[in-house]
């Protein structure tokens, strides 16, 4: 049961057909993330214009969870403002219980606005895999830090 919830079709689809894959030749911001404990890797290029993420490209290697999470993330942040992206990040982390520890998920179902990403909720039953789902988001945070510093 739990496994079926973890490996939903939409996750396998993003894993096998990652969106926005590649490098962005004229990227403004770049960050790389690594999960030393399992070896998963994720890299992110962002082009930001007037506070809006106009282009995204990702590369990675790793399990279905980390790669699907990255692909979905790329999908959802493209075209959003940096502020909106930060809000999404918060909602995502809330949904995944990341750093929220004992807190229950927001009663307002933050997942609802996350589209495909909501499929990652199944990961919550596999605490060791949460860091897989989080890898692209940690990388995104690094890139956004760069972006904000550049402002």
């Amino acid at each position: 049961m739990a496994l079926e919830e973890l490996y939903r079709e939409v996750i396998l689809d993003h894993y096998r057909n990652p969106r926005h894959k590649g490098r962005l030749p004229g990227a403004h911001f770049h960050a790389e993330g690594q999960n030393p404990s399992c070896g998963d890797e994720f890299s992110l290029d962002l082009a930001v214009e007037d506070g809006v993420i106009v282009q995204v490209a990702t590369q990675g290697q790793g399990c279905s969870i980390s790669q699907a999470s990255g692909s979905m993330m790329a999908d959802i942040i493209k075209g959003k403002t940096v502020d909106q992206v930060e809000e999404i990040t918060t909602k995502f982390k809330l949904m995944m219980d990341i750093e929220e520890g004992e807190n229950p998920v927001d009663p307002a179902r933050p997942g609802a606005v996350l589209g495909d990403l909501e499929a990652l909720q199944g990961v919550r039953k596999f605490p060791v895999r949460i860091k897989c789902a989080d890898l692209p988001w940690a990388t995104l945070a690094d890139a956004l830090e760069e972006a904000k510093a550049a402002q």
């Binding site: 496994l3 079926e4 404990s37 399992c38 790793g62 279905s64």
Partner: protein
């Protein structure tokens, strides 16, 4: 070998509601009650610091600690005073790198390794190379995952001062080419070192015929406690080596500005040693002696053959390692179609099967093989066919979940 399972309490455990199939012995083995109780008994009955004691408990602890040294030494055909207790293979190799390499290597000298080494047999040499100006040189592999010895003369010359090699790969299970490389070392006067973390636990080992100068291994990979390992060395080499750490117990005299070292092996054992762990290590080799290392090897050959046969049935599964059980141990890495090893491990875990996934602390090897990661099942004397069957069932489940069926 089925009769040993009753000695391992953890094997009765259920994981995710399923029978535990522990296939992660290359990472660390489970412990028989004989080992657990030896440690327990020490703490309950005669816990004391060793060597400097003039009371009964200290004497009992010292006798047990030194007795364990004699047991572990005998297990590999060595004399007790050539056997240094360390914190594990990693510490043993660092001890050699700092104690021998740091003091004797110069710019232009070379250290010969193979690309199938564990990080423990790479990173210390990188550190020493940086300190001394020496260079690292690597031997590559054959298509069958063994060390490629065909063009040795292209790489080997007198600049090589150290040859350090794995006795058995913890990724592919391939047995190292120790005899051949020890002979090369002899010819060019280099020191030969064996990372025996995976070989001493699984292959009968006799250092008196092996020919190597130094051999490093860990207790926790051969039924013993965590926190202890050993470095065996030929006496002359140990005498030439400088101690890596300074402190109590390793000195014969300490002045304000200078000190004199204690004789080998104590020179290398600074501070309070891992006493309980040494005693547990002794109990572990007692256990292995009782089973018999040739019996153990025979069992591992059988179970590995069974595993290779069963895994061959699974569509899209590729073994990363030799197919011939005569040149390999019971550590089997594999890939399953495009299912990431981490996902394989998670799915198997739901079936009660414990395998490891990742780079197995051998990133250079993974890059060389162009495999980002593998799933790895590894066996020991307590592994039975049922464990393998359970894994194969789990692998079919993975295929199903990933739509490969």
């Amino acid at each position: 070998m089925n009769h040993v399972r009753a000695d391992f309490p953890i094997l009765d455990r259920k994981v995710n509601g399923k029978r535990l199939a522990y296939l992660d012995s290359a990472a660390t083995t489970q412990k028989p009650i004989q080992v657990i109780e030896a440690v327990d008994d020490y703490y309950r009955r005669y816990n004391s610091n060793v060597h400097r004691g003039a009371h009964t408990l200290a004497d009992e602890a010292t006798v047990a600690y030194e007795g364990a040294r004699a047991k572990v030494a005998r297990f590999i055909g060595a004399a007790a005073d050539e056997l240094v207790f360390t914190r594990g293979t990693t510490s043993s190799l660092n001890m050699v790198a700092y104690g021998w390499g740091l003091n004797r290597l110069s710019p232009g000298d070379r250290i010969l390794l193979t690309v199938m080494e564990h990080h423990a047999n790479i990173v210390p040499w990188q550190l020493i190379a940086r300190h001394t100006g020496a260079e690292l040189v690597y031997l590559e592999l054959t298509d069958d995952y063994r060390v490629d010895l065909t063009n040795l003369d292209r790489v080997v010359d007198e600049r090589i001062k150290i040859i350090s090699m794995s006795g058995m790969s913890n990724v592919t299970g391939a047995i190292g080419s120790v005899a051949e490389l020890v002979e090369v070392a002899r010819q060019i006067g280099a020191v030969s070192i064996v990372d025996a973390a995976q070989s001493v636990p699984h292959l009968p080992t006799d250092v008196s015929t092996l020919g190597a100068d130094l051999v490093a291994f860990s207790a926790h990979k051969m039924l013993g406690p965590t926190g202890i390992g050993a470095l065996w060395g030929r006496r002359e080499i140990l005498e030439e080596m400088e101690p890596a750490e300074g402190g109590g117990e390793m000195i014969s005299d300490v002045g304000l500005y200078e000190s004199k070292w204690a004789p080998v092996p104590h020179k290398f054992e600074a501070g309070t040693p891992p006493i309980a762990q040494a005693i547990g290590f002794g109990a572990a080799v007692d256990y292995l002696d009782k089973v018999g290392m040739s019996e153990l090897r025979k069992h591992e050959i059988e179970i590995t053959q069974y595993a290779l046969d069963r895994l061959a049935e699974v569509p899209d599964l590729k073994i990363v390692g030799p197919q011939d059980v005569a040149v390999r141990g019971g550590t089997v890495s594999f890939e399953l179609g495009d299912v990431h090893p981490h996902d394989v491990a998670t799915i198997l875990d739901q079936e009660g099967v414990a395998v490891r996934a990742g780079h197995h602390c051998a990133k250079p090897l993974m890059r060389y093989l162009r495999v980002p990661a593998t799933a790895r099942a590894s066996f020991y004397l307590y592994t039975v066919e049922e464990d393998i069957d359970q894994m194969v069932t789990g692998l079919y489940r993975a295929r199903e979940l990933f739509g490969l069926a």
